[in-house]
């Protein structure tokens, strides 16, 4: 799978659910590249902005699209990575605030 193909696949599937890619295509492609790197490394598309524990069960909440996307897009108009955003965020009708990490602290770093 290459980045262009992944972009096309996800765009269609996720837009149907009301989630849009960030209009900054360069950023989107970099993040999708990160997803492919993680797929290769860990066997699943772990969020590129979070450290994987290399354990699918532990990381199931941060396999992209993560479970935090829905509340983050609802509250900030964007997911944690600024990969998926709302239409209003892309149209700059809402401020582009920094999206704080919503994943519980005890899940973030596993030694």
């Amino acid at each position: 799978m290459n980045v262009e193909k992944l972009y096309d696949l996800l765009k269609e599937a996720q837009e149907a659910k009301g989630y849009y890619f960030n209009k900054d295509k360069k950023k989107v492609f970099d993040l999708l590249e990160g997803l492919l790197v993680n797929k290769e490394r860990y066997g699943y598309m772990c969020c590129p902005c979070r450290l994987s524990a290399n354990d699918r069960e532990w990381d199931k909440d941060i396999i992209c699209p993560c479970v935090y996307r829905e509340p983050d897009v609802a509250e900030y108009g964007s997911c944690y990575c600024n990969l998926y955003v709302s239409r209003a965020w892309n149209e700059e009708k809402i401020p582009h605030e920094y999206v704080p990490e919503r994943r519980p602290l005890e899940k973030r770093l596993r030694l």
């Binding site: 590249e33 790197v37 993680n38 902005c49 450290l51």
Partner: protein, 85 residues
């Protein structure tokens, strides 16, 4: 610029980390950087313990500027701590 020690804990795949690196580069800041996702297991453990001591947030990027810490790409905060107007 009179620069204090600057260290960045990042992930090679992370967009906010990439933005932080680019911004520090633009500002001409010399900094140490560790991409935690690229470390082997024993190194990673060591660095994660370091990060946990530095900040309760345990998220990336974690930027240490002297004795101050910024978690996330917060440009204005970083500029302030670096003394850039």
């Amino acid at each position: 610029m009179n620069q204090c020690n600057v260290k960045l804990y990042a992930l090679s795949t992370c967009g906010h980390c990439r933005d932080t690196k680019a911004f520090l580069g633009e500002c001409g800041v010399n900094y140490d950087c560790v991409d935690v996702d690229k470390l082997d297991e024993s190194e990673r453990k060591k660095v994660l313990q370091e990060i946990m001591k530095i900040s309760r947030d345990c998220a990336f990027p974690t930027l240490v500027i002297g004795d101050k810490v910024v978690v996330g790409f917060k440009k204005e905060e970083i500029k302030k701590l670096l003394g850039i107007s």
